[in-house]
């Protein structure tokens, strides 16, 4: 049974809890302008254009110009706080932002600190980390029957993305029938279900809706679904082209996914936003049975969706160190772990993300020797 996350209620009236969760002070909110300036500079040009176009509908062109150039001007003239100036200078070289003046440090009192841009050993990607791996089930036992690796395709939310077509730029989409193309400003919306993060082997359904600038559906238009996968050049068509229905809709089926993929819908003069779908590998752990007195056993980790050579890390709960091994040709890795005479030892098998799949981990335990 899933427990509700209301375990903090006994502490809510505690002075320490209240102090920790007190409303933000003005001091803590200093720096918003610099953060927004960095946001402005970092947004891709494509998104900037879209944003500027939307702003232009409600403000004057002069105001837009001022808003978009303000942060850049501040950065170029080195008027941002030093920490932001240094990071923009180091991390966005294309913008040619000058280095900060190292008269003093903004708040920490560090003198002439060289700008460093360290990279974490564990890569951080814009992937929500809100998907906790399952905890060891209290009733899990060596005899637990395996569940389907496709058991949770519906565990991720569906996504809809829409991108207006590029302004009057011809596309390379297949030439269509005699139906007149939708006027500039048409939209092709894509909806991927069950979602953007799916378990390996999941089949996707891609729904597209083509609408004219006035919002009405565009029927009888040819739409193709294109995919791009790691290790293959360019975009490749998925299935046959489809014609939009009277409601302007098409539905494609994507075969069972084995690795990450990017999808996009194309019609004449219009395309959808590119949607990346990340595949979550399925981990299975097998622990060899032990006899009384054994001090170690063999753990075999198999990863559905993993590639030979992918790293698997086995870590005992509560420790920072662990064993590493690479997947063999059969997508398995073998470890030798200690066995206690009396106690259960908890471990976690972790598969780091690769270009082909997302990271995933699986907690499990090794029973005492002689118990099975």
């Amino acid at each position: 049974m899933r427990r509700r996350d209301d375990d903090l209620s006994p502490f809510r009236d505690d002075p320490v809890f209240e102090a920790l969760t007190a409303p933000a002070t003005e001091t803590e909110l200093v720096g918003e302008a610099e953060a927004v300036a960095a946001f402005r500079e970092a947004m891709p040009a494509r998104v900037k254009r879209r944003s500027a176009a939307r702003i232009a509908t409600t403000t004057t062109a002069a105001a837009v110009t001022l808003a978009v150039s303000g942060g850049a001007a501040a950065a170029y003239t080195a008027h941002l706080p030093e920490s932001w100036q240094a990071k923009l200078h180091a991390d966005l070289p294309a913008l040619d932002i000058p280095a900060p003046h190292h008269h003093h440090h903004s708040s920490g009192g560090v003198v002439a600190k060289p700008v460093v841009t360290p990279h974490p050993t564990v890569a951080t990607t814009p992937t929500p980390a809100a998907t906790g791996a399952g905890s060891p089930s209290p009733h899990a036992s060596p005899s637990l029957a395996p569940t389907s690796p496709l058991a949770s395709p519906s565990a991720t939310p569906s996504l809809s993305v829409v991108v207006p077509p590029p302004s009057s730029t011809p596309t390379t989409s297949p030439t269509s029938t005699s139906v007149s193309p939708p006027a500039s400003g048409a939209q092709l919306a894509m909806h991927v279900s069950p979602g953007a993060r799916v378990t390996v082997g999941t089949q996707l359904t891609v729904d597209g809706t083509l609408t004219a600038p006035d919002g009405t559906a565009v029927a009888s238009r040819r739409v193709v679904l294109l995919e791009r996968v790691v290790g293959r050049r360019g975009w490749n068509r998925v299935g046959a082209p489809l014609q939009t229905s009277a409601a302007g809709q098409v539905t494609f089926s994507v075969p069972a996914l084995q690795q990450n993929v990017r999808l996009v819908l194309h019609s004449r003069h219009v395309r959808s936003a590119v949607q990346k779908v990340v595949v979550i590998p399925v981990i299975r752990v097998d622990v060899a049975p032990t006899s009384a007195g054994d001090t170690s056993t063999t753990v075999t980790v198999s990863v559905a969706g993993g590639e030979p050579g992918d790293v698997v890390v086995l870590r005992e709960a509560g420790t920072r160190t662990g064993q590493r091994a690479s997947l063999s040709g059969s997508a398995t890795a073998t470890f030798t772990v200690a066995v206690s005479q009396r106690e259960v030892i908890h471990y976690r098998a972790f598969v780091p993300r690769t270009k082909e799949h997302a990271s995933h981990s699986l907690p499990f335990y090794v029973p005492p020797s002689g118990s099975g």
Partner: protein, 210 residues
């Protein structure tokens, strides 16, 4: 067969937009709209997200960081704005992502600091720059209380302190915290409980904070 299956992977359902923040921060508005706007390049959307998360981030980093937490926070936001356009997920996922980035940046900063010791000098830049918009007295009391509480949390074992901050201040769910720190949800729940109980039961701490 010689082997026995222990368990297969399983992921909890995702995608439900949380409407009640486990933390007690005053702002509890749905930020999904702000996130959508920020992803589309809207500065006001990003500013809303920043105002909601930055104070939490600073408090978390004060406990997590050994060096300058403001620098780490700035690096975190720089990373976030750089990759925001390609972020996929709801605001809960965004919150978890921000704190995951912050954690990695803090680890990097600690490593860099250990490799290149630096000499600190007084920071004269802050002199005369204190904001004056809020009522000075209440703000000072609030700040002292919060800072004192952060110092008290920092007395806890490092892992426990981090879990308390991620759970209470960042407002992340137990499974998310477990994912970030590499523990089981049960271990996180127990550790956070013990940490908060330690803080709440100590009479000296209570007298200091109140």
């Amino acid at each position: 067969m010689g082997t026995a299956l222990i368990a297969t992977s399983h992921r909890r359902p995702r995608g439900r937009a949380r409407r009640s923040d486990p933390s007690g921060f005053a702002t509890d508005e749905p930020l999904d709209d702000a996130l959508d706007r920020a992803r589309a390049g809207d500065e006001s959307g990003f500013a809303e997200l920043w105002r909601e998360l930055h104070p939490r981030l600073l408090r978390y980093l004060r406990v997590r960081c050994t060096g300058n937490h403001e620098d780490v926070a700035a690096e975190t936001w720089l990373h976030v704005v750089r990759d925001l356009h390609s972020f996929i997920g709801n605001v809960d996922g965004f919150r978890a992502w921000v704190f995951t980035v912050a954690r990695h940046r803090a680890i990097d900063a600690a490593r860099a600091s250990a490799a290149r010791p630096q000499i600190s000098v007084p920071d004269f830049s802050a002199v005369g720059r204190q904001p004056t918009s809020a009522p000075a007295e209440s703000e000072a009391l609030e700040r002292i209380s919060t800072e004192r509480a952060l110092k008290l949390v920092k007395r806890l074992p490092a892992e426990q302190a981090e879990m308390v901050m991620l759970r209470v201040v960042a407002g992340l769910d137990v499974p998310v915290v477990a994912d970030i720190v590499g523990k089981s949800p049960g271990a996180v729940r127990v550790s956070v409980h013990r940490g908060l109980r330690t803080l709440s039961r100590d009479p000296q701490i209570r007298s200091e904070v109140v």
